[in-house]
Symmetry: C2
Subunit: 326 residues, 2 copies
Amino acid sequence: MKAMLVDKDKNLVWSDVPDPVIKDDEVLVKIYAAALNRADLLQREGKYPSPKGCPEWMGLEISGEIVELGKSVSNWKLGDKVCALLGGGGYAEYVAVKHDMLMPVPRGITMEEASSLPEAYATSYLNLFIEGHLEAGQTAFIPAGASGLASVAIPMAKAFGARVITSVLSDEIAEKIKPLGADVIINSTTQCVEEILKAEEERGTPVSVSMDCLSGETLGKSLPYMAEGGYWVVISTLAGIETTVQLRPLLTKGLHLVGSMLRKRTPEFKAWLLSELVNNVWCKLESGEMKPSVYKVLPIEEAEEAHAILYRGENIGKVVLKIAKE
Amino acid sequence: MKAMLVDKDKNLVWSDVPDPVIKDDEVLVKIYAAALNRADLLQREGKYPSPKGCPEWMGLEISGEIVELGKSVSNWKLGDKVCALLGGGGYAEYVAVKHDMLMPVPRGITMEEASSLPEAYATSYLNLFIEGHLEAGQTAFIPAGASGLASVAIPMAKAFGARVITSVLSDEIAEKIKPLGADVIINSTTQCVEEILKAEEERGTPVSVSMDCLSGETLGKSLPYMAEGGYWVVISTLAGIETTVQLRPLLTKGLHLVGSMLRKRTPEFKAWLLSELVNNVWCKLESGEMKPSVYKVLPIEEAEEAHAILYRGENIGKVVLKIAKE
């Protein structure tokens, strides 16, 4: 089969690789679409290798059709349309997936849209509700509102009854992301994030949960204005790898600063997380309460341009590679 | 009755105050002994007032005898020997206590010893096992090994099968606290705490849980050497109220930095915590596996000297005020 390798000059090359051989508890999925993640760029640069046992090529999430079943797999059948969370290996024609890393494609969702669900939905659900313990009526702070992840996390937090604050880099982007439904959109180029979070505390709506891909010094400056018992969940460090934490408010408010990466979780945890998603969130996609957020679909031949969109940071929502026709 | 008030010059004055009147769900306890806590010193200085609904005078833990029962109290009887966790009001002859803030005095433990149990045992159990999720075979870092709290927390962590690292300010103190059973005692005057924690990680015994009353810059310098999924629980900030956190190790190791104060917990939580103590830890006191750690017992008339011992930091273990004879 074909898979997207990275050559020594860091170019993407659609190359011949051995066909995957499934284990007894796996299924073979013919891939229709693979969605991009920022982690793909890091992996391409050699900074974020696939975990052991996964294909070396990029791709954390796909949609497709089951074309072969392992001997012990009883919860799926040939022809099932699925989406899957992968440790790696999504930029390819086929992938072997353990039976409990698959989810059914929600009713009314296209295969391209379905490919964009697993990583962002699992990451958002994990960090908002499991690590962050977000509850209806609380305020969530989800910075980088124009990111693919925020395009899922903001509507998800809203769909579960939270108030949402986000941040973007310009008024123009603020306008663009209005449809996501955030209650407050901070322009962090002209406004001071921590001052706004302080004002939120003063008006009685302090942040209970932050799912933070930016971090940096803004994190430490904002922490003191959180709600009692709040959770600040660091999921990336795009704005800085250090922060100064004020320990008195951490102590007196009983705050939690937590680092959280989906990719490093155990297979058992991931399987449980996906079952939670199907049980609690898929209904909101099927009812139309939440909508997948696909910015652009490009054919696999244009993978280079797809990556360039992420490098330029122009996408609002997810970028998807179309690999095969249904 | 008498209670210890603080006059406008911050002197301790054994004064007449109104007798407590119990509610239906409370009991009246004749106090035999009250144990001191560092929070008492802060309260005396006006920096840590009693929570609403509690007597204004100091005292977070006592032992005594039940001399009156509220109408709806069925789980205790007159004459029961008890110890209690209080929001305040322990430096007195009597105190009204809600029925679920009491614990029986463990068999073989004196009343003076019993008064020293609730705060330190509840704090240690809360932060090591509930906030910190400490498990047998893991390593716990409990700095300030000569503190009253560490004199409980170190043997408790050991009794539950953990490896324990502590720190003290001199070789002399290190020698004195050897009986507590810590596996490693760092002299933080001559040794670098984070270097030792780094070495622990290199030898395969990284710190999974820290119950940290010192905090300050050492906290941030030490975090990167924790075990995957570790919990650093800040319970005080005696060594500094700020720290610089490296967010990459926080993220990649899935670490948790948590602020935790016993005193601010809800009454329901405290009641549950005390029941956990009686169920899981009292047996270890009754078997002799853990021993109460009382440094000195002074009569209530010498409360000033008792406080001076804490101010000077000379005590290894708890200081107890004797208020009445059994």
